[in-house]
Symmetry: C2
Subunit: 528 residues, 2 copies
C-alpha cells in the first residue's frame, strides 16, 4: 500500500486550482427539488446521507473521486479490517469494526482469533446482564440492582453516555428500560459526589472502565465510590465490575464482581461498541438492544466498503469535508441533531473527530503542510436556533453544518398547536434551516440580509432506533477514518494528551518546586 501526503497527490493540485476560481454561489442557486432527490446516499440501517446543500459541483466531485482512488481509501479501509497495523505510532491494529462482525479476513494475534474473542466477551456480558435483570446477580445485601454507574473518562464516558441518552426514552416507550444509567467522569470530586447523592447504593452497580487500568481520574473516582460503599456498610467487591484489558491491574481481580475485556486494538474513542459501551447499555436496555446497535453499525461499516463514491455515504461525507477544510478553508464543523435524544452526540463526535485528526504529523511522524481535522461543536436543534445560529447565519465566517433528523419522535407523545404537532414543527424547522443557510434572502436592510452560501448536509431516517443509532455512530467513525487516510495521518493515537499528564505529575510530586516557576505560580494561585 502506498502512503503519501495529501499535498503530493494529483487531486490536491487540481482541487487547489478549482478552488481558486470556484464560484460556490452557483451551486446554491441550482438547489431545487431535483437536486435534493439526486443527492441521496444510503448510510446503513435505513439512514440516508443527503449532500444537496453542500458547496460542490460535479467537477469538484469528479476530482474527489480521483482522490479516493489516488489515496486508495477503500483499499486502506480493507487493510484495516484485515488487521493491518494502522495505528503506526503505537504499533497496533485497529479493530473496532470487528466488534460489530467480521468484514475482512480472520484477525489472529498471538494465536488468538480476535473476532472470536470479542464475540465471546459480548456473550459473557450479555449473560451477566440477563442475570442481573433476572435478579440472579444482586448487590451485597441481596437487593436487586436498579442503577448502573459507569466510572470512566474520555472514550469510556462520552460515547457510552451519548448512546445511553439517545435510547433512554426509546427504551421506556418500547418496554426495554431495565436499569437506569449514570456516569462519573471528572476528577473534580463534585462530579462523583453529585452523581452518588440521590442513589441507593445497595441497589447500585458500578462499572469501572479503563483499558490500561491506570487512568488517574478513574482510579480516584473508584476509590471515592469504594469509600462510600464501605461507609454504607457494603462490600465494594459485590458492587463493582471492571471493563479493561487482560494485562491491566483490574483484570482477573477479586475486587470486582466480574471483569470484561477489550484489548489495545480498540481505541478509547472507538470503544462504544465494545464492552466499554456494551456492559452499561446491556444492563440498561438488555443485550438484545445492544446487539441491535452493533447490527446497525455493521450495516454502516458494510456501506462504507462501496467503491462508488456516490453510493458511499461515509466516504462522500469525508471527501466533502476535506474539500471544505483544505480548499474552502472552513476551520470548523457544526453537528446539529434535530433530536433531543442526541443531546450529547455532538460531544462524542467532538472527541471522535478532534482527537483522531487533530494532528500535525503524518502516519510516519513527519510534519504535514496542510490543514487537518477541524474543530467540531454542536447542540440539538431547535435549541441551537435560539442560540448560536445567529453567527452561523450572519457571522463573518462560514461554518459547514451537519444536520441530523428523523421522521418520527421516539416516544410518540405529541400535541397539536396551530395546526401542527411538535414533531412536525421540529422537522419543518430543520428543512427551513437548510434552505435558509443555503439560499439566504436578500434585503435592502443589510441587518436583515442573509447572504446564504452556507453549506450543510443532512442525515435522516425514520426513527432513532438502536440500529439507526449504531449506523449513525459508525458513519462518523468511518468518515473520520477516511479523512485520516486522505490526510495520511494516524487517526488512532493521541500523543497530544501526554505532556499534560507529565506536567501534572510534576506538580503533584514537586509540590511547588517543579523547576518551572510559572507552573509553580499557577499552582499557587489555584491553591494546589
Amino acid at each position: 500500500m502506498n502512503y503519501i501526503n495529501f499535498d503530493k497527490t494529483l487531486a490536491y493540485a487540481k482541487l487547489r486550482e478549482l478552488a481558486a476560481n470556484y464560484r460556490g454561489k452557483e451551486v446554491f442557486n441550482k438547489l431545487d427539488g431535483a437536486r435534493v432527490r439526486s443527492c441521496n446516499v444510503p448510510a446503513g440501517a435505513g439512514l440516508t446521507y443527503n449532500y444537496a446543500a453542500k458547496n460542490l459541483d460535479d467537477t469538484v466531485l469528479g476530482v474527489l473521486r480521483v482522490l479516493a482512488h489516488e489515496q486508495d481509501l477503500i483499499g486502506k479501509y480493507k487493510l484495516l479490517l484485515d488487521g493491518e497495523v494502522m495505528n503506526t505510532g503505537e504499533n497496533r491494529k485497529v479493530l473496532h469494526h470487528l466488534l460489530r462482525g467480521q468484514l475482512g479476513k480472520d484477525v489472529i494475534y498471538e494465536g488468538k482469533n480476535l473476532g472470536a474473542f470479542y464475540k465471546n466477551e459480548l456473550e459473557r456480558f450479555a449473560v451477566f446482564a440477563a442475570d442481573v435483570h433476572a435478579g440472579k446477580v444482586t448487590g451485597g445485601t441481596g437487593k436487586r440492582f436498579t442503577t448502573a454507574v459507569q466510572i470512566g473518562i474520555g472514550g469510556s464516558d462520552l460515547g457510552p453516555r451519548a448512546l445511553y441518552l439517545a435510547l433512554e426514552s426509546w427504551a421506556r416507550k418500547e418496554g426495554k428500560a431495565k436499569l437506569a444509567a449514570r456516569f462519573i467522569s471528572n476528577v473534580d470530586p463534585d462530579d462523583a459526589a453529585a452523581v452518588l447523592a440521590p442513589l441507593d447504593l445497595e441497589s447500585t452497580l458500578f462499572i469501572l472502565v479503563s483499558k490500561s487500568g491506570t487512568t488517574q481520574e478513574t482510579l480516584a473516582n473508584e476509590l471515592f465510590v469504594k469509600d462510600k460503599l464501605k461507609k454504607a456498610g457494603l462490600n465494594p467487591a459485590k458492587h463493582l465490575l471492571a471493563v479493561t484489558s487482560e494485562t491491566s491491574p483490574l483484570a482477573h481481580n477479586s475486587d470486582y464482581l466480574d471483569s470484561f475485556y477489550i484489548d489495545d486494538f480498540i481505541g478509547g474513542r472507538y470503544s462504544a461498541t465494545s464492552g466499554v459501551g456494551g456492559v452499561i447499555l446491556s444492563l440498561a436496555f438488555g443485550a438484545d438492544v445492544f446487539k441491535e446497535i452493533l447490527n446497525g453499525a455493521r450495516e454502516a461499516d458494510k456501506a462504507a466498503l462501496e467503491p462508488d463514491l456516490l453510493k458511499n455515504a461515509a466516504l462522500l461525507d469525508a471527501l466533502i469535508g476535506v474539500w471544505e477544510r483544505n480548499f474552502l478553508n472552513y476551520p470548523y464543523t457544526a453537528v446539529l441533531p434535530y433530536s433531543q435524544a442526541l443531546s450529547r452526540f455532538p460531544a462524542h463526535l467532538q472527541q471522535l473527530d478532534m482527537e483522531s485528526n487533530g494532528k500535525s504529523v503524518n502516519r510516519a511522524g513527519v510534519k504535514v503542510d496542510y490543514a487537518t481535522g477541524p474543530v467540531v461543536f454542536g447542540e440539538p436543534g431547535t435549541n441551537g436556533q435560539h442560540s448560536f445560529y445567529q453567527l452561523l447565519h450572519q457571522g463573518t465566517d462560514i461554518a459547514p453544518l451537519q444536520f441530523i433528523g428523523f421522521a418520527e419522535s421516539q416516544l410518540g407523545e405529541d400535541v397539536e398547536v396551530d395546526g401542527s404537532v411538535s414533531q412536525t414543527k421540529l422537522k419543518a424547522n430543520l428543512a427551513a434551516q437548510i434552505i435558509a443557510f443555503a439560499k439566504g434572502k436578500a434585503s435592502e436592510n443589510p441587518n436583515k440580509n442573509f447572504e446564504g452560501g452556507r453549506p450543510s448536509s443532512l442525515i435522516y431516517g425514520r426513527r432513532l432506533t438502536p440500529a439507526a443509532l449504531g449506523a449513525l455512530l459508525a458513519h462518523f467513525e468511518n468518515k473520520v477514518m477516511f479523512q485520516g487516510f486522505v490526510w495520511n495521518l494516524n487517526s488512532f493515537d493521541q500523543e497530544g494528551v501526554q505532556l499534560g499528564k507529565i506536567l501534572t505529575k510534576q506538580v503533584l510530586t514537586a509540590k511547588g518546586a517543579s523547576g518551572d516557576s510559572a507552573l509553580d505560580e499557577y499552582s499557587k494561585l489555584l491553591g494546589v
Copy 2:
C-alpha cells in the same frame, strides 16, 4: 458619542502593522513566575483574571490601551448604563446591568423608573418563592411543590440552566436546596415527555418563560404540559407561572398562578439575572441565594467601569480577544471550566458570544470589512483532556483557551489517592495544561513534539459560590459587550434567526407547496 468602524481606528492600523512582524513565541519563552504574578486582574467577587499565558507583549498591550480610548469603550458602557438606546436595530435600551443594581443615572421610560420596576419584580418573586417554601402556595391538590420546571428556549433556558447546575451541589452542601429544577426547551416532543416522565405532577410547578409570549417552541411545550396536567386531573392554572413582558398574551392572565415581568430592554441571552433566571433559582435555592448572584454580578459590573485597562478584567479579556481574532486570526475560542458544576456554562457562553457578535453589519446596519465574533465551544476539564485537547495541543490550527478554576470544591467530599486528593489533582491538571499549551516540549520524535505557543487565560477564585458565579456570568457579558463596541456592532439584536422562522411557517402552512421545490423535497424526506 463617536461610533466608527474598527478598521477606521488608528489602533487598527497599528495592530495590523505589529501583527505582521509579531514573534509570539518570545512571549511564551518569557513566561515565568514573575510574569504570572504581574498579570493578575481582579474580576469581582473574589475572582481574578490572569492573562500571563496570553500571546501579547507590552507593545501590543499599549496599542490595545489606545484602542480602548479611541473607541471610548468605558464611555459607551456608561451610556448603556444610563439608558441610552444601544440596541439600535430594535430601538431599545440595554438594561441587564440595572437588574443587579444601579450604576448609572435613573433610567426612566414612559414615566416609569425601570430600576425600581426590576427591583419590585425581584421582591415579588422573592416573596412568591418564600410562600412556596413555606407551603403557603401549593399545587391544585394542596400538595407542596417539590420540583420547578422551566419551559423556555435560548436565553430562557441556557443561562438559567447553567446557573442552576452550577449551584445544585453547592446548595445541597449549604442546606439551601429547596426545590429541584428541571428544564424543557426543545420543540422535539421527546424533550418534554422525557422530563415529565419521572415527575409527580401534583407537586410540580411549571414556569413558562417567553418575553414575547409567542415563542413557538415554548407555547407548544406549554400545551404539552397542560395536557398532561389535565389528564392527571390537575388544574393547570394552579401549576403554571409565567415570566414574560407586560404586553404579552401571557401577562395578567388567569391561566397562571402568578406572572413576573421583564421588558424589551432585557435581551434573552442577558436575562439570567432577571426573573427569567430569578424565579426558578429563587424557587430552587431561595431568593437570598439569587440575590447573592446579583451581588456578584454587580461587583463585576462595577469592576468593568475601571478606566485603567490593566485593572479591568472584562475590558482586558475583550481586547485580548480582539487581538487574537483580528490580528492573530484565530477563528474560535474554547471555554474550559475545571469544575463539573459548570458543565453547561460553555453552552451559555456559546449563545452569549455567538448570538451577540456573530454579525456582519455594524450598529448602523452597514457591512463591515473585518472579522467579528468567534465560534465558542467547550467542555469541563479534566473531561476535555481525554477528548478534544489532542487537537488543541497538536492540531494544525491554534485555538485560544479560556480556563476557569477554583481552589476548593463545592461539596468538600474527597479521597486521597497516590498522595493527593481529587481536588488537588484537578487543579494540578489545570496548571499543567496552561504550561503545556504555552511552552510545549520539544521532542526528536515529531509525533511527541509539542510546539507550544498556544495562548490561554485563567479566571480563578476560591470556590464557586453564588457571588462568584454571578461575577463570572457578568464578566463574560461585559467582555462580549466591549468587543461589540470595538467592532462597532449592535450586540443586542439577533436578526439572523428570523429567516428560519419565516421559512418554517411557510413549510407548516404550505404543506408541500411552498414555492421552493428544494424546501418541499427536504420536507418530504423528513416526512413533514
